[in-house]
């Protein structure tokens, strides 16, 4: 019965995946094809990639955007994990309110948000690029919140945390040693979403007059559009490398067991 149902669902599922794949990969492949064109000779080559790497600001902005995204991920985890654990363990109705608040960044225009941040942040914060991770955190909040929320909903959080505490773990150890490893998938998804969103954030950064990798790409695109596309293609590799590194640092336990 279940097998028959699976067989029935297989064709529409395969079609959906195929369409999704085309939707994601066709533009990427097209961009790649465009980036290796060499109009001077009419053929293909790595000219624009060589040009991008030889640009002195390339590594500067790549590095800046990467560490800003890293700080954003850190802020997100430090704020959201304990808060969500507390919300899930408390019986109060505050959860509904915070659920709603976490969606606000989706409905508040970035322009209004940027202006608000400029007004409300003290001057010494406005003067440092470190204001960006705090604002990126707010922009990533709807996705990061939901990702962690799903993870915490899927485990017996109360029992596990009480078991850890009664065995001698304080709250910090309970979160680090028990809760985060148990919801590892959700934490990884949160890291990926927050990192990718921060790395590619453009509007807010421009409005606050900061330069990061996306704003620099826009700048260089004015003179060399093919070079800018080559840079964008290379920038796709960065989140991949970072997230692979994070996955290796937080290894998944073989929960299938070792009999």
């Amino acid at each position: 019965m279940a097998k028959a149902l699976r067989m029935k669902l297989l064709p529409p599922l395969a079609l959906t995946l195929l369409l999704l794949g085309l939707f994601v990969f066709v533009p990427m492949l097209s961009a790649f094809e465009y980036s290796i064109r060499t109009p001077a000779t009419g053929g293909y080559g790595w000219t624009h990639y060589h040009w991008a790497i030889s640009e002195e600001d390339f590594f500067h902005y790549i590095f800046r955007s990467t560490w800003l995204s890293g700080v954003t991920v850190l802020i997100t985890l430090l704020i959201l994990v304990p808060t969500l654990v507390w919300i899930h363990l408390s019986d109060s109705k505050i959860r509904g309110i915070i659920d709603g608040l976490s969606l606000l960044p989706l409905v508040i225009p970035v322009v209004a948000f940027a202006v608000g941040a400029q007004i409300s942040f003290p001057e010494f914060v406005q003067n440092t690029v470190l204001e960006l991770p705090f604002l990126y955190f707010v922009l990533a909040l709807p996705y990061a919140y939901r990702s962690l929320d799903i993870g915490l909903n899927s485990i017996p959080l109360k029992t596990l945390s009480e078991a850890a505490r009664s065995a001698g773990a304080n709250w910090l150890r309970t979160i680090i040693s028990v809760i985060i490893p148990v919801i590892r998938g959700s934490v990884m998804a949160t890291i990926a979403l927050t990192f990718a969103l921060s790395l590619g954030e453009y509007t807010l950064t421009v409005l606050l007059h900061w330069d990061t990798f996306p704003t620099w790409v826009t700048y260089v695109a004015q003179d060399n559009i093919l070079g800018a596309i080559a840079i964008s293609m290379m920038s796709l590799i960065i989140p991949f490398i970072i997230l692979t590194a994070v996955t290796l640092v937080i290894p998944e336990r073989n929960m299938q067991g070792r009999k």
Binding site: T159, A167, G168, A169
Partner: protein, 346 residues
Amino acid sequence: MSSKSLSLRNISKRFGTVNALDNFNLEVGVGELVALLGPSGCGKTTALRVVAGLEQQDNGLVMVSGKDISDMPAHQRNMGMVFQAYSLFPNLTVEENVAFGLHMRKVNKHLRLKKARELLELVGLDSHNKRFTHQLSGGQQQRVALARALAFEPEILLLDEPLSALDAQVRVNLREEIRRLQLSLGTTTLFVTHDQEEAMAVSDRVGVMNHGVLEQIDSPDTLYNKPSSTFVASFVGTMNRIPTQISNGMVEIFGIKVVALRRGQESGNVYALVRPESIDVSRVAGAGHAKIITRSFMGASSLIICQTPDGSVIQALMPSHYSGDLHPGEEVNLHVTLNEVLVSNV
């Protein structure tokens, strides 16, 4: 094992308008196993959670060997706890779960894994040490939880209905194992359960709770045979409530005068509280006329349910070899086989 005594003094705890614990007092001696028994919502789990530090009492003191730990956070109390729900950490192997408490106490890896294997051997799971928890049955998971609770040599062991999610046979085996371990390690233990058979089988003393108050705490024998209140009498075991009259401290049951142990009132209508095993069913002439409704064979004994002419339903528990020739529909006589009886007001 550094076992200690436990003392709860005048503990009160409210949840909104519900009084979960009302001036609750309890003393548990060193190495003693005390069970808290009671209906749902009587406050037994709240009492245990207050001891563990997972719930903060509104008033009163929690003392361990005379030391006040009322405000101490849960992780500093050094109490092992086994929960009703499976509470093993799914990201850790069996031995890592057992060693978790020692890890938190910064015991080095070699020593804590050695200790974990010793405990796993004690609960018969030493060959499962590398497995993950989802590869274990419910009974095995609770054994690991027990080993984890004992691994760091807790001052008090707290058991919060640890058997209620298990099959009947596993429950019986595991409760015996818990008692065996508790006796061999001498750990002071507080055991919360709603299953009276379980409480009676493993405990030195059983406390019966009702509405946040400890109604009676005594040995299982005393609790069963000399209940201090009608609630305890009705809650622990099966009790017949036989309508009769009290006069001069005596009640008449099935034509026989019996001393009334507790006199709510001096005269008038009362209920005599009689255990099924204190009622004899026979064809011998007497004043306790009744008709057999059903007879249930239960191995060594049989439960015979009768109805008296006034409509009262009486349960009698008799050895099967004495009651084998009694059949439903048969007219019989009932007799009480005791000299004293507890009575309650109508």
